[in-house]
Symmetry: C2
Subunit: 426 residues, 2 copies
């Protein structure tokens, strides 16, 4: 009963499997989900947190199941030497609820939140759900992925922007998510700063990429472009963004796509989410040559990934404009209809908005690719290539492509030009 007592007297206690059982039994809403009455019988508990930050438990009872996620006051993969506010659980819960409101089909339901314990109980995404990144490594095609992710991004970004919000709602929400500053700072450091300097946690496939990593640290044009993106990340409250929308934050089956882990959520630039997703798909694309074997050269799969990149952006574009048209006379205050109602003018406005967003997305996507190759946190797509020289080969191609994309993103007019350039780079 230690953990419960701790929670009751207002102090945090990290749970383990034993104390979690006590917590579950003492929390009516969870108890109800798992087994009904006051006696819920045998519980199966499994810790499955494979991310960098938190502890995640799957709890299965006689009549139901739940995932319980607890944030500890440090970064799990580094340890207590890197403190990190456990209040991130609060912002994760807020974001899950807000995203779930606009896109319930692709966001797990929140059942219970305990702020003192930094604990969220949410829907368990049962097998065969797996982390998308693992599916990409295994070469599995997800025919609905682009449809679902474009849906998630178009809805969560549009409906939390000034295209739908009044400025009153917007500033209130912006102010609240300003509280998630520690997580924003983590991104600022590991995405926009560390890869461009000598930083203690940086790593890369050495010695193969030593010169490539050095070239990044000495590339003035790259640094100029990254500075612009960082300013946008820090200053521009365009919409409620997930903040960490890589392929490890998405769980999939052949017909379900669920976006999890929005603890980095805040009001930031939309392109940061779109870029994270597309950039990580492209990283998966560049990793395929490292996974090719005699059974499969992965050529068809590479095409599927690039097709998914294209479809995601094109469907996003279509759906975003469609939400806009549907709500153009609504409460959104960016483009009041008495001023922008003329069809031709509205089309021009939309075209400029989406073109800027496209270039922002390419920039952020490229920055996310670079940091996964020469920064602190790498991706399993590449890490799982055991032949070091082969891995370095894939990484170098990805890095060169990302550098070009970051520096020359404004030259790209369509997503097909981007995928063609990726294809030409392998």
């Amino acid at each position: 009963m230690a953990a419960i007592a701790a929670a009751r007297d207002g102090s945090f206690r990290a749970l383990n499997e034993a104390s979690l059982v006590e917590y579950v039994r003492a929390t009516p809403v969870i108890r109800e989900l798992l087994g009904g009455g006051s006696e819920i019988g045998e519980l199966s508990i499994m810790e499955v947190g494979d991310g960098n930050l938190n502890f995640v438990y799957i709890v299965v009872g006689p009549f139901g199941s739940v995932v319980i996620k607890q944030a500890l006051p440090y970064i799990r993969c580094v340890g207590e030497s890197w403190p990190m506010t456990k209040d991130r659980a609060y912002f994760e819960m807020l974001a899950l609820k807000e995203q779930g409101r606009y896109c319930p089909g692709h966001v797990p339901e929140v059942y219970h939140f305990d702020r003192i314990m930094s604990l969220i109980a949410m829907r368990y995404l049962k097998p065969p759900h797996i982390i998308l990144r693992k599916g990409l490594i295994a070469g599995i095609e997800y025919p609905l992925l682009a449809e679902h992710m474009s849906d998630f991004m178009a809805k969560t970004l549009f409906f939390t922007s000034l295209l739908y919000h009044s400025t009153t709602e917007h500033r209130r929400a912006v102010a609240e998510f300003c509280g998630n500053v520690e997580l924003c700072r983590l991104t600022e450091q590991v995405v926009f700063s560390d890869p461009y300097k000598m930083a203690p946690h940086n790593r890369w496939t050495s010695p193969y990429l030593d010169e490539d990593a050095q070239a990044i640290r000495e590339d003035d044009i790259l640094k100029l472009e990254v500075a612009g993106l960082k300013s946008m990340f820090c200053e521009r409250a365009q919409a409620l963004i997930h903040g960490d929308l890589h392929t490890g934050s998405i769980m999939v089956t052949s017909d379900s796509t669920q976006v999890i882990d929005p603890e980095f959520a805040f009001y930031g630039p939309m392109g940061f989410d779109i870029g994270a997703f597309l950039g990580n798909l492209i990283l998966g694309f560049f990793a395929q040559d490292g996974h090719a074997n005699e059974d499969s050269n992965r050529e068809q799969y590479k095409n599927w990934i690039l097709k998914t990149v294209e479809d995601t952006w094109n469907l996003f574009h279509k759906k975003f404009i469609s939400h806009w048209n549907e709500h153009k006379d609504g409460s959104g205050e960016a483009y009041p209809s008495p001023i922008y109602s003329k069809a031709e003018l509205l089309q021009q406005v939309q075209s400029i908005y989406l073109e800027d967003l496209f270039h922002d997305s390419l920039g952020f996507g490229a920055a996310k690719m670079i940091r996964r190759i020469v920064g602190i946190a790498h991706v399993e797509d590449l890490e799982s290539i055991t032949d070091t020289s082969r891995r370095a080969h894939c990484e170098r191609r990805a890095l060169e492509f990302a550098k070009t994309l970051l520096k020359e993103r404004r030259q790209f007019r369509t997503i097909e030009e981007v995928t063609a350039a990726a294809l030409a780079s392998v």
Copy 2:
């Protein structure tokens, strides 16, 4: 004692000259300033609020003086039919203190703040201080104006930006000023929306400018540009801006320049402040032909205004860069020195930053000019030209120049190109 009692029991009461005396006598810090002991003798009280929003009293006692400003829960110039949060006084006080911290020479000191009464007691800017706008109408040159205003803007904008702030400080301050949303909304409406549609409070010098006003409402390119500026105003938390930095918010003598009335303050784009000041100077320039008479053709004065526009930007540029260089290894997190320390790279970064800021300033300045000619709130520079046709002539020239500036601002490379264009437009 009604007002005092009201304040003590936690409710707001609008003061008048009689109840103000009671308030002053019951408030030790003000009583002390005016006259020393508990008996402060005869007080002279004068209501001088000539702005659109508030009541402002000058209170003079035997040993000192003070200005007392009270915000009422509506817009003074419209009346109770246009409610407006009196909490603006809180944000005005916060901004005065923050600006005063970085630039004490050009901001009146705050002596006392009463949140319940929405009341600020601050330094009385004694005669010969007058509102700058009135000086411009009278044709008075202020040789230190550019020096002082560049100082105010460089300091208040630099030291509240991410060039000086950590992102932790920045997001905390951004969140706080999100509370000033009602005042931001007023700007959004009267600057970025109303002039571009038929709005009930719009007015212009009719019938002379009927077609000009209509042309504004039908100019798609103008509307596209204004939409971009509005988005920046609503989304970009670049620095703590004054938010209403026109020539009516500045009090001057030949050797003193004091910036008052920052009740519209929030974290927004720096260019909004710079543009407000320069745009209002340029409005003053275009009004001069309406004030020319047989005593003075105002030609020399017009040159002085344009020279002040040039000097303000050029000095601002120099001082802003100088603050940046001085603090480049400090706590500001936009451009961490381990990445941007190389002199050549830092210069490139600064050059891009200031070029963008220049174009933002021209855009916002132009938008502020337009709204003063066809929107709700006009400027005395033009309103005081009694010959309607002559006034319309000045206004049309100003309007045409502002439209060009807004649409083609990115073509201007130097402020001298801007003043040359203004000179060519009269």
